[in-house]
């Protein structure tokens, strides 16, 4: 049973981790919590839903390519939406007091939820099942292809992101902007572009997490982003907000903790237990597990 719970937790954790990256990247670069990120996740799930529903009519033959098309489209649409959000709702407030963009983010979140609720409807929509689920069993432990797919996709996206941040010029520019906006501007970096790129990447990963969530649980709804949004944000804080590796590890830890708490102690108390652990981690390590001490920004 322990291994089964570990599998449950890691699948859930993969989605949290992908989702958490968007929170942590934006925080790293702007010191701002983008509350509308949970709606990016939801929109991603809906884009996937529409594409999956439309594809069989457009191209009845190319079934194996479905998922690739779905993920690329969902990523592009949600990435663009996140960048657009930054341009319209956050950039004009960049030099305002820190509370202002936060409130603006809450506004964007409510706006997107209501737009989807009013145009698409408030009911749960069953997600189209395109993947042939192969159930495997090893000594009483059940695992399906979708769970493996989610884990592999999440880990590879995170590795690609890590390489992008550490090995490319654009990644270097992102790190520079995160350290200091003004100095990096003096060095010839266009900070506005870099911030928009950060939102695009974070949003795209959130959109992929949304599609994975839809595929895995099989139903989506306009307010589906809220609860996992809080969990993903928690994962980002647990790992050390602003730190990309921290967000990934934090997501996996939170997913596994929840599964173990629900499996061994009580399903009613699983969130209580997960959050008590979070409080303890923060008491002893206020910057999170992987957070570094950063010199105060002036």
């Amino acid at each position: 049973m322990f291994i089964q719970q570990l599998i449950n937790g890691l699948t859930l954790g993969s989605i949290y981790a992908l989702f958490a990256l968007g929170y942590t990247m934006v925080y790293g670069i702007l010191l701002m919590i983008n509350f509308a990120h949970s709606e990016i996740f939801m929109v991603g799930a809906y884009v996937g839903f529409w594409v999956l529903s439309a594809l069989p009519f457009l191209f009845p033959q190319i079934t194996p390519l479905y998922l690739l098309i779905v993920f690329v489209l969902a990523m592009v649409v949600t990435g663009a939406l996140a960048a657009f959000m930054e341009r319209t709702a956050y950039r004009p407030l960049r030099h305002a007091p820190r509370l202002a963009p936060l409130i603006s983010a809450i506004g964007v979140s409510i706006f997107l939820q209501n737009i989807i609720m009013l145009t698409v409807g408030a009911e749960s929509q069953p997600y189209p099942q395109t993947m042939q689920l192969e159930q495997m069993e090893f000594g009483g432990i059940r695992l399906n292809t979708l769970q493996i797919f989610i884990f592999v996709l999440a880990v590879s996206l995170m590795v690609i992101l890590q390489l992008f941040i550490t090995r490319t010029k654009l990644g270097k520019a992102m790190r520079a902007v995160a350290q200091n906006h003004i100095v990096s501007q003096l060095m010839g970096i266009n900070t506005n572009t870099i911030i928009a790129v950060t939102f695009f990447i974070g949003g795209g990963l959130g959109g992929v997490a949304g599609v994975l969530n839809g595929l895995y649980y099989g139903s989506i709804k306009y307010n589906m982003g809220f609860l996992p949004g809080i969990k993903a944000f928690t994962a980002a804080v647990l790992g050390g907000i602003g730190n990309i590796k921290g967000a990934m590890i934090g997501g996996f830890i939170l997913g596994v903790l929840e599964a173990l708490a629900a499996g061994y102690i009580s399903s009613e108390y699983k969130d209580v237990i997960a959050f008590v652990v979070l409080i303890f981690v923060l008491l002893f390590k206020p910057t999170g597990l992987f957070g570094e001490e950063v010199a105060e920004k002036i």
Binding site: N8, G9, A122, Q129, L133, G218, A261, A262, Y264, D271
Partner: protein, 373 residues
């Protein structure tokens, strides 16, 4: 003073125009149920039943010259919203009574508000017994209750399915938890084994950790007190984890939406319903035919005929007391109404005496009535 005078006279003029202008008197009946949200499928069905009742009453000139108008509100299944709407309703003097709400969690707090102004409330769907145990004279219920439903389901599991090891899951709402407790009580009282009693959160999607543990308890059936959205996810995840036992629930998951969410995993699952299937009742045939003609392609939801009956019963009582609102509540309490679902009379608490339970199971993706001996 002068301004106040003008306001008063304008108000009087408007009031005169309102009732004297066309010579038509308007009587409003309110329906409150979730038209959006997690259990909107049930609420939308209630709305269809309600609209038919109002149409029929107008066609029959039930209140003489007075025109009957439907005032329909959406409480989204949210207790806070339900209370806000209840306050709105009691401030509208044209509303003679309320049909609703659906969720017990909404009906109970809202009933306190209607009681303050003596507005009669007839719920076609809230099944938590506590609703009518508050001692309010204005609260009535035309459907069965969870104490009857839960113990009936318990007996069904023990006697018909011949299972004696069950596990119980509920959604921590007054409806879901209430029903689950009644079921558990019956199983334990008759010597069955409840391996564990677990709460989940509404809106949660991942139940695999809990279900993995439940699998090790080797239950023969999982009983769920809650609504169809969560029920669908649970049965789907049960089968993915290899926990191949049926899921059984109450009226809250009795909707074909359940099978739509769960897909083929729901095949063979059960739901009880507070009342007999309308398709087996001879007096309902006419209603069913007219419903199908009026709403082609729409699935009848479990509470549509109850809502129809509740609204018609209220208007009949109002007609009987010559539209005197002060005696309306007493008239409902003393009513004997023969409707779609048989004869409704109320006991001293306001519950119907017509408490029958039936059981359905999923066959080819739809709930089908299950004849039992």
């Amino acid at each position: 003073m002068k301004l106040a005078g003008i306001i008063v006279s304008v108000g009087l003029l408007l009031a005169l125009a309102g009732c004297g202008g066309t010579g038509e008197q308007v009587v409003k009946v309110a329906l409150v149920c979730p038209l959006t949200g997690d259990i909107a499928a049930h609420g939308q069905g209630m709305k269809r039943g309600f609209e038919m009742a109002i149409e029929d009453a107008n066609a029959a000139h039930k209140l003489g010259a007075a025109k009957i108008e439907a005032a329909i509100f959406d409480d989204r299944g949210d207790p806070k919203e339900a209370v806000t709407i209840a306050n709105q309703i009691i401030s509208d003097r044209a509303i003679i009574g309320v049909i609703g709400h659906l969720n017990s969690g909404c009906s109970i707090p809202a009933s306190r508000i209607y009681e303050k102004r003596n507005v009669p409330m007839i719920t076609p769907a809230s099944t938590n017994p506590k609703l009518t145990m508050q001692g309010y004279k204005n609260v009535f219920r035309v459907c069965g209750t969870d104490d009857v439903q839960g113990s009936w389901a318990g007996n069904y599991v023990l006697d018909t399915l011949k299972y004696n090891q069950v596990v119980v899951v509920h959604d921590k709402t007054p409806y879901g938890q209430g029903l689950a407790e009644e079921f558990q009580k019956q199983i334990v009282a008759r010597g069955g084994i409840v391996t564990s009693f677990n709460g989940i959160d509404q809106g949660e999607k991942d139940f695999k950790a809990l279900l993995t543990r439940i699998k090790t308890e080797n239950p023969q059936v999982l009983f769920f007190g809650g609504l169809y959205a969560e029920a669908g996810l649970i049965t789907k995840q049960m089968k993915e984890l290899g926990l191949a036992v049926p899921l059984m629930g109450g009226d809250g998951m009795f909707s074909n939406e359940f099978a739509r969410i769960a897909g083929p995993a729901s095949e063979g699952d059960f739901a009880t319903m507070v009342g007999l299937p309308p398709s087996k009742l001879p007096q309902a045939a006419d209603f069913l035919a007219r419903y199908a003609a009026k709403y082609p392609g729409q699935d009848m939801q479990p509470y549509d005929p109850y809502t129809y009956d509740a609204a018609t019963l209220l208007l009949d009582a109002y007609a009987k007391v010559n539209q005197n609102r002060d005696s309306l509540i007493a008239a409902i309490a003393g009513t004997t109404y023969d409707g779609i679902l048989g004869r409704t009379t109320f006991d001293e608490r306001g519950d119907t005496r017509n408490k029958q339970i039936s059981i359905y199971h999923i066959k080819d993706g739809r709930f089908a009535y299950y004849e039992h001996k």
